[in-house]
């Protein structure tokens, strides 16, 4: 990381839900920048706006004011519960191939198959699992599938929304190691959302703390954890073990 090259800029972003008559603003003046190869953590309690922020970045929720500037194409998302985000009626191989069928640049069936197998291997999925259904997979394997889906189109910006929160500690560790390995191999940038402060500490370069839709504190992970400045950050740190 010699030069800081932004891949995502969020500028004074305000967003929320509802219509003109009844509007509930969720995000207030959110402003940050994510650099290439960086893992930026976002922590806060449920309902604080973490997920709304990632949805606004992807354009699912319209911004009320401010803006989101993407410097890469195809930001992708990884969700907490891979079971509800994988199509239960299709085999894993088909699910992995879907983003390739959807994209503009056409690929031949054999090219697609080759790429699916390459990415399955990359995320540590046995080739035989490609012929299975999501229900046959364990939670860890399903999360590997969703990581492969997010990367298969060649995305370099990944929004990971609580990617390890639903997993057991041993599996959690495997997925965290995998995400770090992929980050190094493909020079990815992650916006890593979690309510688990220890996970954030282990994974992230920089951390942002969000309370009620506002970023109340941000800085290098070591610094935030060692010398929290904002009272809310202090409460968060005290209530974890």
């Amino acid at each position: 990381m010699l030069k800081e090259e932004p891949v995502l800029e969020v500028q004074h972003l305000c967003a929320g839900y509802g219509n003109r008559r009844k509007y509930r603003q969720v995000l207030f003046d959110v402003d940050f920048c994510l650099n290439r190869g960086e893992i930026l953590g976002l922590v806060g309690e449920s309902g604080c706006g973490k997920s709304t922020l990632s949805k606004t970045i992807l354009g699912f929720v319209p911004a009320k004011s401010g803006r989101v500037v993407h410097h890469t194409s195809r930001p992708q998302m990884i969700f907490q519960d891979p079971f509800s985000s994988l199509n239960p009626g299709k085999k894993v191989g088909w699910i992995l191939e879907e983003p390739l069928r959807m994209q503009k640049e056409k690929m031949s069936a054999s090219e697609r198959k080759e790429r699916v197998e390459a990415f399955a291997e990359r995320v540590g999925l046995d080739r035989e699992l490609l012929a299975r259904y999501p229900r046959d997979l364990s939670g860890g394997q399903r999360q590997r599938v969703s990581i492969a889906i997010s990367l298969i189109q060649g995305s370099s910006l990944i929004l990971a929304d609580e990617p390890v929160s639903a997993l057991d500690v041993t599996i959690q560790r495997q997925i965290m190691e995998l995400m770090l390995k992929l980050q190094e191999e493909l020079n990815l940038s992650y916006l890593f959302i979690s309510h688990d402060l220890d996970v954030i500490y282990q994974m992230c370069d920089r951390v942002m703390v969000m309370e009620k839709g506002r970023i109340v504190e941000s800085g290098p992970a070591e610094q935030i954890f060692r010398e929290p400045q904002h009272p809310y950050t202090k409460i968060l740190l005290e209530s974890s073990f």
């Binding site: 309690e45 449920s46 500690v169 041993t170 282990q202 994974m203 992230c204 968060l236 974890s240």
Partner: protein
Amino acid sequence: MLEIQGLSIEFQDVNPPFLAVQDFFLSMNSGEIVGIVGESGSGKTMTSLALMGLLKRQAKITSGSMMFLGEDLLSKSQKEWQALRGKEISMIFQEPMTSLNPVLTIGRQMEESLRLHTKMEAKERKKKALDMMSQVGLAQPEKLYRCYPHQLSGGMRQRVMIGSALIGNPKLMIADEPTTALDVTIQAQILSLLKKMNQEHGTAILFISHDLRVIQSICSRVVVMYQGKIVESGPVQTVLRSPQQAYTKKLLSAIPNRAYSLRRDRKERIESC
């Protein structure tokens, strides 16, 4: 109070039968908080379902005995189980959204066990429910009494679950991953609530979790399970401070903590190459 000996549970709908729990031992005194820890599939939930008499038909108890307050649980009929559940033994689950009935009001669900097990009048039940709701830290109980589960946040729903599990004053409460789906601040609140309830009502708690951090903060003893078997058990401090088994050590080392950073350690290793 509770004495489980040599319990084995087998799934008989697959060939060969799958042994989910093997030779499980546990004895619990009243007022004690004991933890069962292990990863998913280790048999912790099967054991707790057996204790509630809620095992699916395919799962058979093939050997062992379960004694609760001097009574043999395994010889109980459906009817006898119904008299026991909610009154003597109650259970709270990981996901309060799926285990609360979405079409019944909070008040009605709080009162359920009183309705089933006592001859209380409606007014008295309501009074008791409102009282329990404030005990578990739900503000404005009168208003919540008429609400439905979807109108509540995750932490509030979990409080409702705990309240309705405690309202019949059970001797034993089984808590299956009660805080796993919750934020750290809410998690801390729920844990101290459980501790408070344990102290005030003397309810014994069997606390099931995969998170050793949580187990450590609430339990006095812990049982570590792996692939259906007990690999280690003892006082929490002893087991966690000097684990004897490789699996317990692995569980301990996998806990995310702030003693080191995976990310920064890897970076340093790469840069030094």
